[in-house]
């Protein structure tokens, strides 16, 4: 079943105009056009996303961290079955979904990354087969909803759906959100960050942890038994089969993202053994994890948008000179207090350089953390300051985009 031939006239016009606007926006050098194109399409036909999704088997991926990467890995896994439409550029609100589907034309499958706040709306519009819920933690608190409130919104969004919920058993906030759904598949994806789940979202009592296990000290909220687990380099499927994961993407968290991708794809009938080689082909995701040669330096880009993301980035970064770049523009959140939620001590003993609009906030933080650092005015200065060889770059959102632009918008 395909989509294009069955679109109502209004949706056809809207879809076509949406593609045209996106193309014009790209030609004008104003980004990739996925937001403006989708916006225009939705103005003409508010049900355009619904029309474009109709007839496709859809998977949605949401969470505070890892959703762009997991979407990319899931789309790669689903490729076993046929052509997959996806918003791989990270435009994760309904305008971006609309644009991605309009641009893709007829595809039997779609994998869409969804901003946490829009999950319910996008479920309504796309009637997904499967929904991956990765994790919830503090992110841009001057603007975003508090974590427990977001978990409650998710719970209400997924409760009475036919969709299979592929959910992280290691994050109490996700378990709270998913456990009332009709069909849940639990994945042990891990959650290095615990500071947003000390208190049970169900009853307010302390959550107790023992190794990987956790439970509420009063009510019945506890870690469910996961059907999918990650054991070192291997993912174990519910049937007991194990699949060695060899990713180009670094870090334990990406092996967990791969496990989630395999679990989601399995809901569509994908055999993990067939999908695994496709996961290994993913080298970078919209610049994240990209390795770039520049002036004899091998620069690797790691994006960390919030405290949980920084912990994962430290796990991925190799012991080499490391540039930290921090901005606090609108997409980053304006408050830099979160820097104190991150323990920078894994950087002890490395050469650390800092830059960005808010490098002074970072300087004070590192001094308190007793980490030595050098302040540089910008990315080219950092590049010049380190010897030939590896330079790890960890940056938050707009700082990352700035550096990516310096490297000719590396993907």
């Amino acid at each position: 079943m395909t989509t294009g031939g069955e679109l109502p006239l209004r949706a056809k016009v809207a879809s076509s105009l949406s593609r045209t606007a996106a193309a014009i926006s790209r030609a004008a050098g104003r980004g990739d056009g996925s937001v403006i194109g989708g916006w225009l399409g939705l103005k003409i036909d508010p049900d355009l996303l619904k029309h474009l999704a109709a007839g496709r088997s859809v998977a949605l991926v949401s969470g505070t961290n890892g959703k762009t990467t997991t979407t990319r890995l899931t789309a790669a896994a689903m490729g076993v079955l046929g052509e997959v439409a996806t918003n791989s550029l990270g435009a994760n609100m309904p305008t971006g979904h609309t644009s991605a589907l309009a641009r893709a034309g007829h595809t039997p499958y779609a994998v869409l990354e969804v901003d946490e706040h829009y999950l319910n709306q996008v479920i309504e519009a796309t009637n997904p087969v499967a929904i991956a819920l990765l994790n919830l933690s503090r992110d841009q608190l001057d603007r975003a909803k508090e974590v427990a409130m977001m978990a409650t919104l998710w719970r209400d969004a997924v409760r009475d759906r036919e969709s299979v919920i592929v959910a992280n058993a290691d994050d109490p906030m996700v378990v709270f959100a998913a456990r009332d759904a009709r069909r849940v598949v639990w994945v042990a994806s891990g959650q290095r960050w615990h500071d947003d789940s000390w208190v049970c979202p169900e009853c307010g009592s302390p959550i107790e942890r023992d190794g990987d296990d956790w439970r509420c000290s009063r009510c019945d909220l506890r870690r469910p038994t996961p059907q999918w687990t990650v054991d070192g380099e291997a993912v174990r499927a519910p049937d007991g089969s194990t699949h060695r994961i060899e990713l180009q993407l670094p870090g334990r968290v990406n092996r967990a993202n791969a496990a989630t991708a395999l679990a989601v794809a399995a809901q569509f009938g994908v055999d993990p053994a067939q999908a695994v080689p496709r996961l290994a082909q993913v080298a970078s995701v919209a610049g994240r994890y990209a390795t770039v040669e520049r002036d004899g330096r091998t620069v690797r880009l790691l994006l960390a948008k919030n405290p949980a993301g920084w912990l994962e980035a430290f796990d991925m970064a190799e012991p080499a000179p490391t540039l930290l770049a921090i901005n606090a523009r609108d997409p980053d959140g304006l408050d830099t207090s979160w820097l104190y939620d991150v323990d920078f001590s894994p950087l002890h003993g490395r050469r650390v350089l800092i830059t960005g609009d808010r490098a002074m906030d970072l300087a004070v933080r590192l001094e308190v953390n007793e980490i030595e650092f050098e302040h540089v005015a910008n990315f080219p200065r950092a590049l010049a300051a380190v010897p030939p060889g590896r330079l790890e770059v960890i940056a938050n959102y707009t700082a990352f985009q700035d550096i990516r632009a310096e490297l000719n918008r590396v993907n």
Partner: protein
């Protein structure tokens, strides 16, 4: 309760490690009130004491634990409505913070923690009883105050301009018995005119950033209250550069 008994990183040279003589910094309820980098204020106080050779012990107390009464400095941080109301209930049931305050311990209370020490505050649309340590009360404002906050402190405190980031929906009304921390020059603070409170050795503010990262003089004021004498100056090159940048941002 997790304690850092002087801790390798916070123990002063020559200190025998005994906690009898150490400055005890108690951070209350990080499980409920630690939404905006509130750990930072504890870390900054501990470091500023440590570099001056003052032995320090940091103690983190979860909301299901008893409040220790022999602390020298107590910290309450920011949080959302639900956790704030829960923290008030548990602190009122425990009474340990009340007793510490009455015997003259130093308190730094931030945002939700600041509202808590008054007689009442609003959470989830309901008026909740506070700890009643100070004559102040908080209610809901017409809009959320989000952005840079700056002000001219009460001259009696001998502090330079204060700078922070505020993010709160409440407005705080000071009773006749307490003094504002500062007169607002940018942002909202208590009510658009005044910001924060101080009374004896208790200091309350809406400033995140965290407050003590951007205002090292405020950290030293708290330390001097706790140790009973002024503290020597230390190298504040980076905090001062941060202050200059943030204060320029509110002027520009």
């Amino acid at each position: 309760m997790s304690t850092n008994q002087g801790g390798a990183r916070h123990r002063a040279p020559g200190d025998d490690g005994g906690s009898e003589s150490a400055l005890r910094i108690v951070w209350l309820y990080p499980d409920l009130l630690s939404t905006y980098g509130d750990r930072g204020n504890m870390l900054i106080l501990a470091r500023r004491a440590f570099v001056r050779g003052i032995p320090v012990e940091t103690i983190e107390v979860r909301s299901d634990e008893k409040v220790p009464e022999q602390g020298d400095i107590y910290l309450l941080g920011g949080g959302e409505d639900g956790p704030q109301a829960l923290a008030a209930q548990r602190l009122n049931a425990d009474r340990g913070l009340h007793r510490a305050y009455e015997r003259g311990a130093t308190l730094l209370v931030i945002c939700a923690g600041y509202q808590l020490v008054g007689t009442s505050f609003f959470a989830k649309g309901e008026k909740c009883p506070g700890l009643g340590l100070l004559d102040l009360s908080s209610d809901r404002g017409p809009s959320r105050a989000v952005g840079e906050l700056a002000g001219t402190p009460d001259p009696a405190l001998g502090l330079p301009t204060i700078t922070g980031f505020e993010n709160h929906g409440g407005r705080t009304h000071l009773g006749p018995g307490v003094k504002p921390l500062a007169r607002v020059t940018a942002g909202v603070g208590n009510d658009g005119a005044t910001e924060g409170v101080w009374q004896g050795k208790l200091l309350g503010t809406y400033m995140h950033g965290p407050a003590l990262a951007r205002n090292p003089a405020l950290a030293d004021l708290l330390l001097s209250w706790a140790v009973g004498s002024t503290v020597d100056p230390i190298d504040d090159t980076w905090p001062n550069r941060l202050r200059e940048e943030r204060l320029r941002a509110v002027v520009g």
